[in-house]
């Protein structure tokens, strides 16, 4: 039997990729016009070197992606994630390197692009299918799947203009799946329809993973932790980390975000005088490895601080962020700080529902309220348990049953 020669090829290969932009609009138009006049292509020198006002949005990117891999791309704002996706999608031209794609590539960040109000849902399926290279026969063959998956049986022949945003998203996502992509790019945490539909999307993604290479760009670490089996962390246009250890990737991303926040505050810190340095921050639970705690069980937060003189009244602020990086709980503790101190906060019972959370730690001056640390520090932790809940807090009171 003959083997498919493309079977062993990576679905995506990115080699030495670089892309630059111009900060100044007028210079950007000038360079664009010059490049057009030079025979519609920039010269080698123009591609390799930065001209006035130009900067590298991404530089020296190298990675491969195979079917079965779900790659999460994390990075602070401006790290180059969206630029990378537009390069892979063939929308931006490259300034350096090559990109090879084996198979059909579909981007879910464009799920509503090309859909028209005057068309019915069904007509939009034909339009979107065509935009992703499907023939009319292929679209017709997938129509039942799209209608069933998007749960729009009653509305598929109504104009798109009468759809809610959730209905449009469901239709867009179903069409994307119907294209049977070899490489799927998902931007942001599948903000599609309601919770039940999101769960359905995640289940479908898991189902197609063995024969699809998936790239997910998200700040939603719960999504990355649940779906991805590999993480690339980008920083300032370069790959800072490429790892199959998703937890390590998320920690690196959080630390990079923290560092970016610190850098912004650095000058302000100098002006504000003595600062407090966080030497160590750890989360632990008895009998559990690393930063893992059990729902309903205890949790210990340990921190070591060094305060520049003089001693002062301070307030420790612990914040708890859910997977969407939204603060869901806080804890405040007032104390006198002087020199180096090791502190421990013991929570007898953790009521967070199972999932991924982030602890933020910050020390403030009790009188002025100003931060003594250069912004908050973050640590990711996981709450384990069997009961799933859609909200951060899962309270378990003691129930009693009296006589009627």
């Amino acid at each position: 039997m003959r083997q498919d020669p493309t079977q062993d090829l990576p679905a995506l290969r990115v080699e030495g990729v670089g892309k630059k932009f111009c900060k100044n609009l007028k210079w950007s138009l000038f360079y664009g016009s010059m490049d057009l006049l030079k025979g519609a292509r920039a010269t080698e020198r123009d591609n390799q070197h930065l001209r006035k006002f130009e900067f590298w949005a991404v530089k020296d990117l190298n990675f491969e992606l195979r079917k079965g891999e779900v790659l999460g791309i994390l990075g602070p704002n401006g790290a180059g994630k969206t630029t990378l996706m537009k390069l892979i999608s063939g929308i931006y031209p490259l300034n350096q390197g090559t990109i090879d794609i084996n198979g059909r590539l579909v981007q879910i960040f464009a799920k509503s692009t090309g859909m028209h109000r005057i068309y019915t849902g069904r007509e939009n399926v034909f339009m979107k299918g065509a935009m992703h290279g499907m023939s009319q026969a292929q679209v017709e063959a997938e129509m039942d799947f799209v209608i069933r998956f998007s749960e729009l049986e009653e509305f598929i022949d109504s104009p798109l203009g009468s759809y809610s945003s959730g209905m449009k998203s469901r239709l867009g996502f179903a069409i994307m799946l119907a294209t049977r992509p070899d490489i799927l790019i998902i931007d942001e945490a599948l903000a599609v329809g309601d919770v039940a539909f999101r769960e359905k999307c995640f289940a479908e993604l898991k189902r197609i993973t063995p024969h699809t290479a998936i790239i997910s760009i998200s700040h939603h670490i719960d999504h990355i932790a649940n779906v991805c089996n590999r993480v690339i962390v980008m920083d300032q246009g370069r790959v800072a980390l490429d790892t199959p250890d998703v937890g390590l990737g998320i920690d690196t991303y959080l630390n990079l975000s923290m560092a970016a926040g610190k850098a912004k505050k650095k000058d302000k810190e100098k002006a504000d005088g003595p600062a407090c340095e966080l030497l160590e921050l750890a989360i632990a639970a008895p009998g559990l490895p690393g930063a893992v705690v059990e729902h309903g069980g205890p949790m210990r937060v340990a921190a070591e601080l060094r305060l520049q003189p003089p001693a002062r009244a301070a307030q420790i602020e612990l914040g708890f962020l859910d997977a969407f990086q939204k603060k869901v709980a806080t804890s405040l503790h007032a104390l006198e700080l002087d020199g180096t101190a090791r502190l421990e906060a013991l929570f007898d019972r953790v009521d967070f529902s199972p999932g991924f959370y982030t602890l933020s730690f910050q020390v403030r001056d009790a009188e002025t309220g100003k931060s003594l640390t250069p912004g908050p520090s973050f640590r990711k932790f996981e709450v384990t348990g069997t009961t799933k809940a859609k909200v951060a807090l899962l309270l378990r009171p003691t129930w009693t049953r009296g006589e009627p």
Binding site: T6, G18, S28, L29, G32, S33, D35, L36, G39, A40, R41, E44, N47, L87, S89, G90, I91, Y92, P93, L94, N95, Q96, G97, T98, I99, D100, I101, N102, G103, R104, L105, Q107, F109, A110, T113, G114, H116, I118, Y119, F126, M127, G129, A130, M131, H132, G133, M134, S135, Q136, V139
Partner: protein, 282 residues
């Protein structure tokens, strides 16, 4: 859909004709369904918000006809001798002119108009060109049939050579498309020039024998018409249809050859510059 896609910073030479046209042909071959959907959408959407809908395809030329007939009857305007009754001549000429500028109108702003889609999904410009050309051809059918009906009502006899009319229109289509593609680029990089040209379009109509005859007595107009390539691209098809004659065939063939070369170069330039154009509309 091609199974393997390769993007590189090293684009082939602008003079690599074979590469450019192989890619353009492959894109058009693989995008038939998309072009069909785009054309369908354009035709559906163009008069969607009007009460009269597609009737505008008839109303517009009839209104234009009425204006020029009133001007002629009032003595303000003398179009010169025409081979067929003036209303039929005028209606056919205006249809051809509307057909020609239709390429500029639809293609001229097409890059900016398509920005919401082309900045999100990879769509080659040749697909948009094909879409706009087909829409313009479809829009020409109704006014042309109306012109033909009026010609026949006036008792003008058609000839066997009249069957060649669609073929003689090809250079006009190429010129219109070429102009549309050129100004699609100009609209992005030098918007002022685009506005200037759009506002000058009426002037070009008066420099072409559309509302007046190419047999006008004015020496100045004869000189201008002689240098205006549109004269040959409009007069010959019109005469082929109504008289079965190939007026000034040699010049027509030279102009047509020039249009073919210019069209190929323009399409190739846009093929290579398309990625740069995309950056400018983001």
């Amino acid at each position: 859909m091609r199974n393997h896609t390769h993007y590189s910073a090293h684009s082939p030479s602008f003079f690599n004709f074979a590469y450019a046209w192989r890619e353009i042909a492959a894109t058009l071959r693989g995008s038939g369904n998309l072009i069909k959907e785009f054309v369908k959408l354009d035709l559906m959407a163009q008069f969607k918000k009007t009460v009269l809908g597609n009737s505008w395809l008839v109303i517009t030329p009839v209104l234009n006809l009425a204006i020029w007939l009133i001007m002629r009857r009032s003595g303000v305007f003398a179009p010169g001798a025409t081979d067929i009754p003036y209303p039929a001549y005028l209606l056919l000429s205006l249809s051809l002119w509307t057909f020609f500028i239709g390429f500029f109108e639809t293609l001229g702003g097409s890059i900016t108009a398509a920005a919401p889609i082309i900045t999100q999904v990879k769509i080659s410009y040749e697909i948009i060109v094909a879409q706009k050309v087909l829409v313009n051809l479809a829009n020409f059918v109704v006014p042309f049939l109306l012109s033909l009906a009026v010609i026949l009502i006036y008792g003008v006899e058609l000839h066997w050579a009249s069957l060649l009319f669609p073929l003689t229109l090809v250079p006009l289509v190429l010129f219109g498309t070429l102009l549309g593609m050129l100004f699609a680029i100009v609209e992005v990089v030098a918007h002022d020039l685009f506005i200037l040209f759009r506002r000058s379009l009426k002037l070009f109509m008066y420099l072409t024998p559309i509302v007046y005859s190419n047999k006008t007595d004015s020496a100045l107009l004869q000189t201008i018409m002689g240098w205006n390539p549109l004269t040959y691209l409009i007069v010959l098809p019109r005469d082929v249809l109504v008289r079965g004659q190939f007026t000034d065939l040699e010049t027509y063939l030279w102009v047509s050859g020039g249009m073919v070369v210019a069209f190929l170069l323009m399409a190739q330039f846009l093929f290579f510059s398309w990625p740069k154009m995309l950056e400018k509309v983001m």
